[in-house]
Symmetry: C2
Subunit: 299 residues, 2 copies
């Protein structure tokens, strides 16, 4: 196993443990809160690559931030991601019955519980950020709150999801699709890397470099996701894969498969170039290797 | 018009202006974000008593906090309240077609937009709190984030909403209904008063007194709301009022009208008693008069 794969697996385990330790537990007699706790845990602890926590930890690591501290922010960004998946899956949005091979939350529980559990996870992310174990300095924790909340809102991830919904009814041009993806995926990637920089009190230069890297990485992540949807028709277990290749709001739909691949290659090179500010980006550097892995992924 | 009514009207105007100034505006060419901005504005600026901002401002006023500062936090708590109304109205939850005499957001736009606009308003509240005009001291702003996020989450307002949904299927006893209302209404009332105390760097004693007041006020607010639903059958314009008197999760359903009225009277007296820490609670004190107004309201 490569160093990157080992590190990904290690971080995944650590993040899962931290999320598990943070999430609310059931308390006898509290019917409503317990149902929410079960729903939050079902969604948040049901797998996932934990790629946002990974880039947060690796970014923080560049500035010598202790892992015990960056793990809190890493858990928080993943709670935000989980909230977005729960709401995206709802019948009124993407209407997905499955998530990570399991029933999506509104299928496992019901729509009301899914809406409320998503809301609770979003609020919980801010509760985690404001905890003093996230950073000893309150002004650093507040910077995280400011960065996360902007990345989530109407001009961030949620705005991207709104464009995505509208794209089902109208054709988007390449600029609009880029904006869609920059908001929907890129903003949370950016907030993840920026959180590492904030925790490490990084220079503006370093922070901007990480934002640039994350933004490009997010776009590559999205393009390769679309490419997998467009080119793979069956899952590994032989079951038919949901075909999203005809969705309008994707690079593949507008550029076609070949040009989308070229675009992903260019964006990956640009992503790695941003990292040069930390010394030449090379094999063995986790964020550098991650960009290559995202470009070349087959699942 | 009484002093209280004048002050309520003045604060309502100020809060509306602040919310209007803060909310995102439309920018040419941004279809998704513009739809969200319109939806957020439709819900947030469509009336409402602004009672949470009012008690926040009055609490802050006890400690000499400038209004320009407390108005930011007041707008933030109202954005949280608006988010909760939007999601509560959804078909999967309370399924209300109307809100404040207008079509509810999912009726005016659609369900997807309503879910996303609610999410965006929740994130926006934290963005507003983290802005440096909310308070010069970052640690104070972070305390607001901590207080708000706890009040919203699984053991706060959202938890209360979950109990409320479950109460449709099972009978709750009086303890469970009290907990439901303390979470669903009381937590945000508490966070409002506590925000005033946080902004004013109040003593623990003063903070606890305001929390106690707010908690009781929230319960009275809920009981009188239930009483109005149970006793008034028609709106002022003669249209039939939605009858909620048969809902299970209310004081009126369990105690009956008379005992619920008695309970509201006792809770109001207790609420006013908490205020004695700031000098004898008497007519002319805004928070004191507000408690009486909530108890005796006829709409």
């Amino acid at each position: 196993m490569s160093d990157l794969k080992q590190e990904l697996a290690r971080v995944e385990r650590l993040v899962n443990e931290k999320m598990d330790a943070l999430l609310p537990i059931e308390i006898e007699g509290r019917v409503g809160e317990n149902r929410l706790a079960r729903a939050m845990r079902y969604s948040a602890l049901s797998g996932g690559k934990r790629i946002r926590p990974f880039i947060l930890l690796q970014s923080a690591n560049l500035f010598g931030v202790s892992e015990s501290c960056s793990l809190m922010a890493a858990a928080a960004i993943e709670f935000v991601h989980c909230f977005s998946l729960i709401h995206d899956d709802l019948p009124a949005l993407d209407d997905d019955d499955e998530r990570r091979g399991q029933p999506s939350l509104h299928k496992k529980f019901d729509e009301a519980t899914a809406i409320l559990a998503g809301d609770a996870l979003l609020a919980f992310a801010f509760e985690v950020l404001s905890h003093d174990t996230t950073h000893v300095d309150a002004s650093i924790r507040l910077e995280l709150v400011a960065s996360f909340s902007k990345a989530i809102g109407a001009n961030g991830m949620v705005g991207g999801q709104m464009i995505d919904i509208l794209s089902e009814e109208r054709d988007l041009n390449i600029e609009q699709i880029t904006r869609l993806q920059r908001l929907k995926t890129g903003q949370l990637f950016q907030a993840s890397c920026e959180a590492g920089a904030i925790l490490g009190r990084a220079t503006k230069n370093a922070r901007n470099a990480l934002r640039g890297y994350a933004n490009n990485l997010g776009l590559v992540f999205q393009i390769t996701d679309d490419l997998l949807d467009a080119t793979i028709e069956r899952n590994e277990d032989g079951t038919p894969r949901k075909n999203k290749s005809e969705e309008k709001g994707t690079y593949v739909a507008v550029l076609g498969v070949e040009k989308a691949k070229q675009q992903a290659t260019i964006l990956t090179a640009q992503a790695k170039e941003y990292l040069n500010v930390f010394g030449r980006c090379q094999s063995g550097d986790m964020l550098c290797d991650l960009a290559d892995m995202v470009l070349n992924r087959t699942k």
